[in-house]
Symmetry: C2
Subunit: 413 residues, 2 copies
Amino acid sequence: MADKLTGACIIGQSGGPTSVINASAYGAISAALEAEEINQVLGADHGITGVLADKLYDMGQEDPQELAYLKNTPSSELGSCRYKLADPDADDTDYKRILDVFKKHNVRYFFYNGGNDSMDTCDKISRYMSKSGWDCRVMGIPKTIDNDLFGTDHCPGFASAAKYIATSAMEVSKDSKVYPTGQVTIIEIMGRHAGWLAGSAALATYFGSGPDLVYLPEVDFDMDAFLNDVERIYNEKKNCLVAVSEGLHFADGTFVSQAKTSSTDGFGHAQLGGLAARLAEMVKERTGAKVRPIELSLLQRCGAHLASKTDLEEAEMAGRKAVEAAVSGVTGKMVAFERDKDASGNYVCKYILLPLTAVANAEKKVPLEWITPEHNNVTKDFIDYVLPLIQGEPERPTECSLPRYAKLKKVQA
Amino acid sequence: MADKLTGACIIGQSGGPTSVINASAYGAISAALEAEEINQVLGADHGITGVLADKLYDMGQEDPQELAYLKNTPSSELGSCRYKLADPDADDTDYKRILDVFKKHNVRYFFYNGGNDSMDTCDKISRYMSKSGWDCRVMGIPKTIDNDLFGTDHCPGFASAAKYIATSAMEVSKDSKVYPTGQVTIIEIMGRHAGWLAGSAALATYFGSGPDLVYLPEVDFDMDAFLNDVERIYNEKKNCLVAVSEGLHFADGTFVSQAKTSSTDGFGHAQLGGLAARLAEMVKERTGAKVRPIELSLLQRCGAHLASKTDLEEAEMAGRKAVEAAVSGVTGKMVAFERDKDASGNYVCKYILLPLTAVANAEKKVPLEWITPEHNNVTKDFIDYVLPLIQGEPERPTECSLPRYAKLKKVQA
């Protein structure tokens, strides 16, 4: 058992928001408020930039009921950032400032909730604190809709986005088949380097009404093969629904969304619209079909009304476990998930701890064997992986049938 | 009491689908299956085109449980069409064919579910049947997310789309404020001529987190005023959320989505992207802000997972009332809604019947007094109008936490 370390804690949110990142914040805040060793719970305004600016909110001043509403409030309620800390050996200005702020508030616990880059930030702060002799336990809490964090079976935030995508794909699939005149519909899904989200659209097909074709960024995109696939299906049934990852790229690494296509105006003017709009132009040229591009955009990462209960509970638990581990003496680790089965063979999530150094800056992609040989869909293994994660409908507080979100006072410490 | 008229009925779906058009189909089908006078219930494949093709499904062959799933299945499960019948005086080919099909199946009841154009179709068929002496009762069932049908307080389908839009606007509003760097977000909403849907985004603001600015097509769009509005709000709080109707137009009637803007490439090449993308370019040029255009596209009209229980029940009842009225002798009418209050002052919907001739081809727009004098938002009267309509969460059948839709056998008659 480690020495008892008493002091304040800081909780910060970082990177792109998700539907359940506030559930992790709630897990960490409520566990910290309960912990005897933690005498003040501070929320950083916009992640590490709030620490640098000494803009910290005293979470103990919040109404407990409003804090509980965090569980169903999408996006990062404390504010997020994409600030990258320098290498401390090259420039330690930020680190000195962080140490000053930590000392000022007697911060002995630092919890940072984010993806790859945030775990790097977390790791650097952890190492700097140890080097400078300030006793402070630093823990990472995973988060990313992209599901690309290394070492964990999956990431909080992914499953809720996946559920939003699969449900929307089912609905759009129904809508896209309504006219006898036929239609090609292209849904653009987030995921610059990993295809976990785009692949999740295939759940809709598995349950009866979804995309015919799914393209992931793990493999090079072949425009001819794509156009042939779409044309074949459209000719066959006068309808084709396609799900594409925004990160599709050609063999030379160029993103399809940025590449010149035959439809691109030759004068080099910037064209509006993203990948789906570009592919739609190509498909229209080839097939003559009515083509509808749909970009799920921010909707997929903030669609909290379709959150997975499993995801929400795991996200909350990840925050809670980080606090419990730190209080018990752990530092320099990230909470991670291991997939297990109970006696009846049902999915169970086990919480483990991984060294931050092992997680920072690594990426986990969809295994190539979970992509069909034709590179135009995912396999049953992919479905089996995602399905348990999207299960369950959480309670959803509403006011006049619209979502009721947390209203924090944000009293500065 | 009218003479008892015994025979088959046809139910057809027409125009753009909604989240609850199948609930109206269910209301009509189940009432027709119960009606003693109706000995066969036929569903037309793709509306009137299915009648012309004599492609009719025997709804009596369906599993009652699957029919009940129609209530939560978005889009038009029988298929829709946008087929416009000719003026019978100019060309009666289609009408003769319809009469033949009616005679073949002894069709004595025709129920058509759609918007303006569909009520015109309905009206033409009604008058032709009367003229030709074929005793057939023809009833319209209202439907349109655009809420622009004349004579009815509101239309089935509108409120569920409004609820989807308001909820999504709340979520996007949360997401758009996450970074300290600031952002302008522009949400493009359906409604070519009427701003009911775009205005509904303001519900989100009313409940704490929604658009700062809302632009409706009922008034001419002023680009300078728009850019000034956005710039002012962005400068004030480093964030601005805007909701725009796809039908925004300049004073000369040109749609903003089609007009040349200063960002349009001078060579006249077609540009990809819709209104939101165009406005985003303009705002970026003016403010230098990060701008994110989001088009709700088909999602808003098929988002059945966010359906309003009130809307769903009214949609089902509209179908049922049409059948009950026809069986009791009514013809040439559309079921419409009247807003009433119960003894406690709570919203109640009353069902009335309007002559098809009064409804066909007329349009109901947002009253100008419900738009702010600055033309950049809606008033409290607008909110009070929409709010009762979006109330309640219907039961939502799921299978493995994804929607469970109706699976019809569609046995041809």
